[in-house]
């Protein structure tokens, strides 16, 4: 197995998802929790989730890969989400995305080799009036330009 997790962390996680398992609508909640706690849902974690929710690992894998905000890799330290929703796109968000990828040495929707950055493509962040938008480590930045994003990335 590639990934190692602290036993205490795992134990606590298992406790929470055992609770979720009682809820008919609990499976996605458990995956959300895993994504938050571990920064991703690799197979080892998928197995733990499957065990509690009485689902096969293949089913969990299928779910994890379906949704954008679940990843089967552990994400990087800094998460940069560039919105390429329609409004942002018509305001040249693609150029911003390109720049972000260039600076972070990261393909869109993946994690850089040194695990420093993950670049995520957003599909409308709900702030279209202020497009284009970028979220860096959970903080939203509006009306972003190439210069501005370069500046912001320098800061981390």
């Amino acid at each position: 197995m590639k990934n190692k997790f602290l036993p205490e962390q795992l134990a606590e996680f298992e406790k929470s998802i055992a609770e979720n398992a009682k809820d008919q609508a609990g499976l996605l909640k458990s995956i959300h929790l895993a994504q938050k706690v571990f920064g991703g849902v690799p197979v080892e974690i998928q197995r733990v989730i499957g065990k509690h929710h009485d689902a096969s690992i293949s089913k969990i894998s299928g779910i994890v890969t379906f949704y954008d905000y679940f990843t089967s890799d552990i994400q990087g330290k800094n998460i940069i989400e560039v919105c390429v929703g329609t409004t942002c796109y018509v305001q040249e968000a693609n150029d911003i995305l390109k720049k972000v990828c260039e600076i972070t040495k990261c393909e869109p929707n993946s994690t850089s080799r040194n695990k420093e950055f993950s670049v995520v493509i957003g599909r409308c962040l709900g702030k279209c009036e202020l497009a284009p938008n970028v979220i860096i480590n959970h903080k939203t930045h509006n009306k972003v330009t190439i210069d501005k994003v370069t500046e912001l990335l320098k800061g981390i």
Binding site: Q24, A25, G26, L27, L28, K29, I31, H32, H53, A55, G62, I63, F66, Y67, D68, Y69, F70, C83, V84, G85, T86, T87, C88, Y89, V90, G122, R123, C124, L125, G126, K127, C128, E129, A131
Partner: protein
Amino acid sequence: MDIKLLKKIKDDTLKRVGNKFDKDYRTNKEKEVRIVLKNSYVIDKDSIDEYIARDGYFALNKAITEMKPEEVTEVVKDSGLKGRSGGGFPTGLKWGFIPKEKGQKYIICNADEGESAATIDGVLMRQDPHSVLEGMALAGYAIGASKGYIYLRYEYPVCLEVLNKAIEDAKEKGLLGKKILGTDFDFEVEVFRGAGAYVCGEESAIINSIEGNRGNSKSKPPFPAVKGLFSKPTLINNVETLSVVPQIILNGADWYKSTGIPGSEGSKVFTLTGHLNSPKTVEVPLGITIRELIELGGGMRDNRKFKAFVTGSPNVTMLGSEDIDLPVAFPEFKERQVMVGSGGVVILDDKTCMVDFTHFNVDLLNIESCGRCTPCRVGTKRAAQLLEKIKEGSASLKDLDKLIELAEHLRTASLCGLGQAVGMTMHTAMNSFKDEFLAHINEHECAAGKCFK
């Protein structure tokens, strides 16, 4: 909690806040109305008391103490309210489809707001969460459901907090939960977070998602009204649709119908974005023309020429400049095979290349396709590639024919609304901007200078 206490909270709060509620955020008081956004930007979103002071939960009280469930549905039917998610399906009619038999039923409030450019549901949930909760409770009473889920898109963490607090407050006051307002009506609400998938705004995909599956769409029938969440009858409505229900119940169907035009009763919130001077969110009566909407957005940016009115992205339908005086209304739009959409409007100026814009949307929709059915899974990809060929200058008229054929195939053979709408998107683009497509193919000419790079 009972009506007396509710009135007392109202009076006390009104005294406390003074003239706070007189604030009017509208820039154009003639054209804009305040129904859906009655409380937004005015009340403190975290204060249930301020919501009550604006007659909040009075409708719920009226319904469950004075009206039979069928009567609630009847009023909604009479009001002419149509689904605000874009399809315009009559809301009361939908409520009436739910079987009358007793048993577990569910309400799902569709807060996936997947259309980019639309931020209406987000505004409502952030600014006026209780109106959504009250609307859900009313729907729950009308159809006999005791549990509601708000399927909230992942991108709205603030809404999550606000809604959760609102639910707690309402429960504490006995306005949600068991024995609401001292009656026998129970109704729980839970916020369920999506995880990033456009198709999970589609009804059956939401159900799959809550049940803990991949968010694939399912074939209909069976419709959710008969076999929905956990195989139980389920009513799915959009946030904006539900949030206006309390006012309809309180003020009556006729009051609601007095706004808007016949066939398109009431008001609609639009987020005006794109190449405008001042993009913003406005609430207007249905029936307003596109020209008026552009004016509300401060007119075209840099005085450029208006080129296209786009709704519902990425499943876009568009209208060109010749339709600038068309009223924004369900029947009128339907006639042109355009959707009113959930309120996200992108205004495009003449610097936009429609081939490029169509390509962007179709390409995005392939990524968003759930991958279940052949036409959409493969067809959207091939369509995007054909459009790419046009953009590169390697396409022939044969490719255009292929695109037209694909659009038709997507529209008629796809399993769910997503694939069908991609077909519509392509169809309206190639219809409204045919010359531009032809110029690209024959002349390698892109007026916007976007293509052939």
